[in-house]
Assembly symmetry: C2
Homo-oligomer: 494 residues x 2
């Protein structure tokens, strides 16, 4: 076999192990009985270890050196991705990889309990273990690629992204945010109290039915995916089997519904990746910033729009069968309600960046060693107070609310805010390209939008960089302008 | 590392891959969206292939030669099991292993549809592929171990079992069965028509609640397992995560309930294996005959007894809240109703061996090549008519009813009947050892029985042979006497 073909075969096999891990991970968070946690951690650590072993065999380096994919842009891009993945993998010893997977599984189990009991101290030892191993791994990768440890982590989620790029954008946002939030909330106060939407309780089975219906309406293929329940919503599963989750409250259906739309944005991206490159590195989604842009485009740009409310309000009212007032304007006002809230995943799009900036600042400090883990709750609460002007009453609604750090995902959070900026910029371009888009959304027709996203984002997969995808789709490099323009237009002008 | 320790490490890793496969297989049959079938087949084939690769690395043969476990019976037994597993594995080329796994996954998906539509022709091409690969594999193993191809298959499910052992036992049973069934049904006719048990429909959610409650009552640990729904009931999952399934009909709760008890017998065995040997070959259940003995002991010997009916009838009546008659005797009569039925998994214990003997005879013929697959439905229906005196109206209720052959499990069926004999013999011994056992069952107390099974079967795992476990627990080698005595006593005397 030629070197390039050997590589395609190897990476194809690796992707099946990743898929196995994807389903096992979904199962752990939705189905697994709690007594199986230890064993599951061992199973998943072995799978990670095996992938690492296969990827770091001596012949792989030889193949990568010999392989030639000239003249075919996709094969060349595939080879480049392979080289990047390989370089990251050989930098970290196999036992560190296995230990990190195991520590992450263990910390996740503790986190579930610690969050429930709002006890950061309970999580501390397990989290410290994950942090230490993450730092060890980041140090090794950083040395190999000539990056700082934190940039090495970022590169794992959004190739090419650096602290130097993020810092000024986030600084701009942090400067704009407090006055923007102030202005939006002041204007909102003029509209009087929020209207009610139906009468709780909203039965979980009915909420689920609504979620499934809306997922399919926007283009989710249920033959190749599922909707389930987990403590923290996620989009996971495997190739051709994209599984999203949400969590329900009977008092209010909006959080679960908006969560479903968010995860469906992720799922549409996965389901729209090019079939011809299934299982190959170039056929994957282009990093987490682009992934978050797809979830936030659907949730923030589309679902929370007045046009969407016109389409969805009667359908929701019918589904829940409520007698009380349920007009589009009430739904829109509820979906665009801005509030200095505690929970990131429930946050509106105006305050959302404040949650991310907090996490970004703290996680860079944790990795650099300037913030000790035991001081995290206090630092977290202080920064939330600075940016949002609210007090965090307990760890459950503070630094314990997210699963990312227990899983070892330092470097992931910035992608959320970068994704929000990307989403705004992409949607602005889509509106220009599809003059009737608002009317289509009002009548529940999402196919042109999905077609545009398929063509300009999904089908490009990892064939070019995030920056290139954004530039080709929107005609300019990624910036904060479209996001700020969108927020001002939606919250201060209309 | 010493050779023996290297082997323990290797087999420990292999068991984690088996666990991954166990969960993926459970997921495929309970959760997976249908569009994911192809990809899942690839994932599972890769996992099988990787296990095979790891097991057949050259150094493993060296370790097995050098390893010394003298002076420790369990380590020695572990080493012997490793040698047996290794010898079977090196006999079959890796590509045949992967192809068989993939063909099995594919045939299973086709089988689901073919069974629904009662169309054996639809399954034929996929099943032929599985059979050809199974024969190729059996031939190779047989040559390596000096066994006939069918004995090589048997050895994979019940080490040491051969056609020469089974043939005379099954011939005896086949001789006794027709007159025994005749006599039982004649006597049964004297008791008049079967009493009703409550009023259908029996809501599935309530049936599930009853199942879970009974599972826990007999000792199932729900912290380390689950109950779900699938087309064909099974016990699967992974170490420390034992998952059983059933299928519900709203017209009658007994089939699902008895299915749950059957699979719970399997699950109790898995949950009772010695923790100290978790993940090692010697720590596994001792083959399929012993496994079936545990499911049939719980289903046939315990659950379908008059004593169990005294305990369960009021609890069931309360659970379903039915106003109609619901006494223990009615339940007992329903559970011991003997009928020349079509479906193996719904069969009573008197006619059950006829289903197995049919399958055994046909599957030996398929492997020997004296029965072409296309002739299977006709041969199946003819033999069922010989032994049970009934006509099979369609393939759905004939040779398409079981999942075993599509999955490539030729050689498995005899274990069911051998398990029934073992169950009867073990329960006879338990009754002798625990004089109050009947009284305990009447009051819903299963702990002494479970304790006895733990000590005499579960905790012995694979440390000695099936025959040794039976002889130690019952004082005599396995035979059909206890089974026949049990059937005569329950159905012709009491």
């Amino acid at each position: 076999m030629k070197a390039y073909d050997s590589l395609e075969h190897l990476f194809g096999r690796l992707s099946t192990l990743e898929d196995a891990g994807g389903i096992l991970s979904w199962d752990r968070d939705t189905m697994m009985p709690e007594g199986a946690a230890d064993r599951r951690a061992t199973v998943m650590a072995t799978l990670s270890g095996l992938q690492h072993e296969l990827l770091t065999k001596p012949e792989v380096a030889e193949w990568l050196e010999k392989a030639n994919a000239e003249g075919d842009a996709w094969r060349q891009a595939n080879l480049d991705e392979m080289k990047r993945i390989h370089a990251r993998a050989v930098a970290v010893p196999g036992d560190v990889v296995e230990a990190l997977s195991r520590a992450g599984s263990e910390a996740e189990m503790v986190w579930r309990k610690a969050r429930k009991e709002s006890d950061f101290g309970m999580l501390l030892p397990a989290l410290q273990k994950v942090l230490d191993l993450t730092k060890e791994s980041a140090q090794a990768i950083g040395e190999a690629l000539g990056l700082s440890p934190y940039d090495a982590l970022l590169d794992g989620f959004d190739p090419g992204m650096t602290q130097a790029t993020i810092a000024p954008i986030f600084a701009d946002l942090a400067r704009e945010l407090p006055s923007l939030i102030e202005a939006v909330i002041a204007r909102q106060a003029e509209s009087g109290p929020l209207p009610l939407l139906g009468q709780p309780p909203f039965p979980i089975a009915v909420q689920e039915k609504l979620g499934l219906q809306m997922m399919e309406q926007v283009g989710f293929d249920s033959r190749r995916g599922r909707l389930d329940v987990s403590a923290h919503p996620f989009c996971g599963g495997a190739t051709e089997d994209v599984r999203i989750t949400t969590r329900y409250e009977e008092d209010d259906f909006l959080p679960a519904f908006l969560g479903v739309m968010h995860e469906t944005g992720h799922a549409l991206y996965e389901q729209g990746l090019p079939k011809a490159w299934l299982g190959q590195p170039v056929g994957r989604a282009r990093g987490m910033t682009m992934h978050e842009s797809q979830s936030l485009l659907l949730e923030m740009q589309v679902t929370r729009s007045r046009d969407f409310a016109v389409f969805a309000a009667p359908l929701m009212a019918k589904t829940f069968g409520s007698a009380s007032s349920w007009d589009a304007e009430s739904l829109y006002r509820r979906m665009t309600f801005v509030e200095r809230g505690l929970i990131r995943v429930d946050a509106d799009e105006v305050t959302y960046p404040a949650h991310i900036i907090t996490r970004y600042e703290l996680e860079t400090a944790m990795i650099e060693g300037s913030l000790a883990l035991k001081d995290l709750p206090e630092a977290f609460n202080a920064r939330i107070h600075d940016l949002l002007g609210i007090n965090v009453p307990d760890d459950r609604r503070g630094c314990l609310q997210d699963i990312h750090w227990p899983l070892g995902l330092w470097g992931y959070f910035p992608c959320y805010a970068l994704g929000a900026l990307t989403a705004a910029q992409l949607f602005q371009a889509a509106l220009k390209a599809l003059p009737d888009l608002c009317g289509q959304i009002r009548s529940g027709n999402f196919s042109s939008l999905l077609g545009w996203l398929r063509q300009h984002v999904h089908e490009r997969a990892s064939s070019v960089s995030t920056q290139q995808i954004v530039a080709d789709a929107t005609g300019k490099p990624l910036g904060a302008e479209a996001y700020l323009a969108h927020v001002r237009q939606r919250y201060l002008e209309n």
